[in-house]
């Protein structure tokens, strides 16, 4: 049975299911409940996260398992890492991914390395939930999409769900995975509604989803950019070109096979990513395909990404900053050697 839920509700639902299933699951972070030690809010909490995503969870599970922290990312993230290593299964919220500067050591050098450094004898079943994404006029320090930073680091898994169904299944996989996992929640998707499976289900990591089949072009869209890719595909279809659109869903592990098999069929690849282009996930995917499927390519791989610049505040600038269907069509038109599509 499927139910209609928003992306935000799917997260809330997944966390509740996990906490019901396993007493070791705790939720920790800044204002994940809110109103700690305020008499009238002791049970119900206040915000439930800055976007209200975890609202009501404290009511069901109490403040022992839903823990508001001081503004001390390095402190509580480090605590979550070693709580994970010593028997809990924490979901630690880093409010915006841009705040990773305050706790990168805990994630990069501790969580991601324990298992390897300790000869496979320690496990860190930690889930970090964090908010990414531009398009909210939140400016340079609250709009980044930093998933590439973590994809670069061995030992931590990276998940970028693009819809409510995937969010729920991937988040549940993350929580019950024995490795550290970071799950990116695009702030502009919180209100998006979609069909979500009822009850407990998981979606395996490293399995991309083909959102639309096509034979002329492969477009890999990261996170919400899968929608930009789908819009471009619709417009290209009107011109007689069928694009295959792929949502990788997880960046680490990455489902290379699905992407490569698609490119073998289409001979063309565009990767759409709103993150910075240098050393990025888009660049990584381009390199993998260049490496493993070069002979199948009919044109150079194109990346439609943000420019190598911070996210601007001013709304018209931020619009220009983001990938658009037109930018994808322009890239495709270069790949097929003519410009007739720019007017689509």
């Amino acid at each position: 049975m499927a139910v209609k839920m928003s992306y935000s509700e799917a997260i809330n639902d997944a966390i509740r299911l996990a906490m019901r299933k396993d007493d070791d699951v705790i939720l920790i972070g800044e204002d994940v409940a809110g109103g700690a030690e305020v008499d009238h809010l002791q049970d119900e909490g206040a915000w439930g996260g800055v976007f209200g995503v975890t609202k009501g969870i404290v009511e069901e599970f109490g403040r022992d398992r839903v823990i508001d922290t001081p503004i001390a990312e390095s402190g509580y993230m480090g605590a979550a890492v070693s709580a994970a290593a010593t028997g809990l299964r924490p979901i630690s919220e880093l409010m915006f991914n841009d705040f990773i500067g305050s706790c990168l050591d805990e994630v990069m050098n501790q969580a991601a390395k324990f298992h390897y450094m300790f000869g496979g004898k320690a496990k860190v079943p930690l889930t970090i939930r964090t908010i990414d994404g531009a398009g909210f006029n939140a400016a340079a320090q609250h709009s980044q999409s930093l998933y590439a930073l973590f994809t670069h680091i061995p030992g931590i898994k990276v998940v970028i769900p693009s819809n409510p169904y995937d969010m729920k299944g991937l988040l549940l996989s993350a929580i019950f995975d024995d490795d550290p996992v970071i799950v990116f929640e695009d702030k502009t998707l919180y209100g998006m509604k979609g069909e979500v499976g009822e009850g407990f289900y998981t979606i395996p990591f490293g399995k991309a989803e083909i959102k639309r089949a096509g034979k002329d072009l492969t477009i890999v869209g990261l996170g919400k950019q899968v929608y930009t890719a789908l819009k471009a595909a619709d417009q290209l279809a009107k011109k007689g070109f069928e694009a295959e659109v792929i949502d990788p869903r997880t960046l680490s592990p990455l489902d290379e096979d699905t992407i490569i098999n698609s490119v073998k069929k289409t001979g063309r690849l565009i990767i759409v990513d709103e993150a910075y282009p240098r050393c990025s996930a888009a660049t990584d995917i381009a390199a993998i395909v260049g490496d493993k499927a070069f002979d199948y390519l009919d044109a150079p791989i194109k990346r439609v990404t943000a420019p190598h610049a911070p996210v601007p505040f001013s709304p018209p600038l931020e619009k220009l900053y983001m990938p658009t269907p037109q930018k994808i069509i322009d890239a495709f038109s270069v790949m097929v050697g003519n410009k007739v599509f720019s007017a689509v």
Partner: protein, 331 residues
């Protein structure tokens, strides 16, 4: 805590008092206007308002020149105004216009004017603390006698950067004043819950520097305590933690329902305990300004805020090329 308001602040000239009152009014009216405009949906993004805390920014910046630096927070409009940033340029920045102080690239959370020693509002809690000691280090190495002031919240005092910065400022005797705006909340969490310490100024003791907690709604109290702290820094006698007990009148950010606030306390804070009301009383009792003088200032400030809004609405958005300019000085 110092609560005695009705003593004449030492060394506050009539000119200074007028400047202070004008700046406090500018902050209040600016923030009230932004609150209204945001509610109408005319400005985007995250906006954190400073209304209620005016006495802190103005009482401290009254002792600074353009050569002195300040670091600020996400709640930075008040610091900007107190440090002399242009109202038109600030408002246009919040509107995302090309005429904004940062060309519309930064917005509310990143307003800056380095020429005024305003090193930027900041989207990262705790970031201003080490930045302030850097400005202090420059002053010390270059022997300029300039002072750096760090405005930070009670919530930020729980961040590691607070302790790293205060310790370094102490061991190097840097000309820094750490001004804690203790408004009792960090987002939807209370100071009482989030901090083990009773007062932030108590940390001064362990770091062996000067520390003081004052009523941050009491302009003369802030003014006098800041005078001492800034003078100490200028003379090379090291840093101070100046904790100002205050209140933010609006929500954490615009759109916050504020369920975590005690309604009685809020009412008191925005009425009888209001910093502007209290300073008006002070000015009248000390016969520095009459009710009429005050009204005149209020009206003039209103005109300047109206002008800032008109200026912003009529200003163009930035040119498309600005998306990729200013990333590097050279590349």
């Amino acid at each position: 805590m110092q609560t005695e308001t009705q003593v004449a602040a030492k060394d506050m000239t009539v000119e200074k008092a007028k400047w202070i009152y004008t700046k406090m009014q500018e902050i209040r009216q600016f923030e009230t206007a932004v609150h209204d405009i945001f509610a109408k949906g005319e400005i985007p993004g995250f906006v954190h308002l400073y209304a209620g805390e005016e006495a802190v920014a103005v009482g401290v910046c009254a002792h600074l020149t353009d050569d002195d630096s300040i670091t600020s927070t996400h709640r930075g409009h008040g610091h900007c105004i107190a440090k002399g940033c242009d109202l038109n340029g600030m408002m246009a920045e919040i509107y995302g216009r090309a005429t904004g102080l940062c060309k519309g690239k930064g917005g509310s959370m990143h307003i800056a004017d380095v020429s005024k020693g305003m090193l930027g509002a900041n989207g990262i809690v705790g970031a201003g603390l080490p930045l302030a000691i850097g400005a202090g280090l420059t002053a010390k190495v270059k022997k300029t006698k300039n002072v750096a002031v760090c405005f930070f919240g009670d919530g930020a005092s729980n961040h590691g950067t607070f302790h790293e910065a205060v310790n370094m400022a102490a061991i190097w005797k840097l000309p820094v004043v750490f001004v804690c705006e203790n408004n009792g909340f960090g987002e939807a969490s209370t100071f009482d819950y989030a901090a083990a310490a009773d007062q932030i100024a108590d940390f001064a003791k362990v770091y062996k520097i000067a520390g003081e907690t004052v009523d941050g709604k009491d302009l003369p109290a802030v003014y006098e305590a800041a005078a001492k702290a800034v003078a100490r820094a200028r003379k090379g006698e090291g840093p101070t933690i100046l904790e100002c007990m205050t209140y933010r009148d609006f929500g954490h950010f615009e759109g916050d329902t504020q369920s975590y606030k005690d309604k009685e306390a809020q009412k008191k804070a925005i009425t009888e305990d209001d910093a502007i009301v209290r300073f008006q009383d002070y000015l009248k009792k000390q016969k520095i300004l009459t009710g009429q003088d005050i009204k005149k200032i209020d009206d003039a400030v209103k005109a300047s805020i109206d002008e800032a809004i008109r200026f912003s609405e009529e200003s163009p958005f930035p040119d498309a090329k600005e998306v990729t300019t200013d990333v590097y000085v050279s590349y």
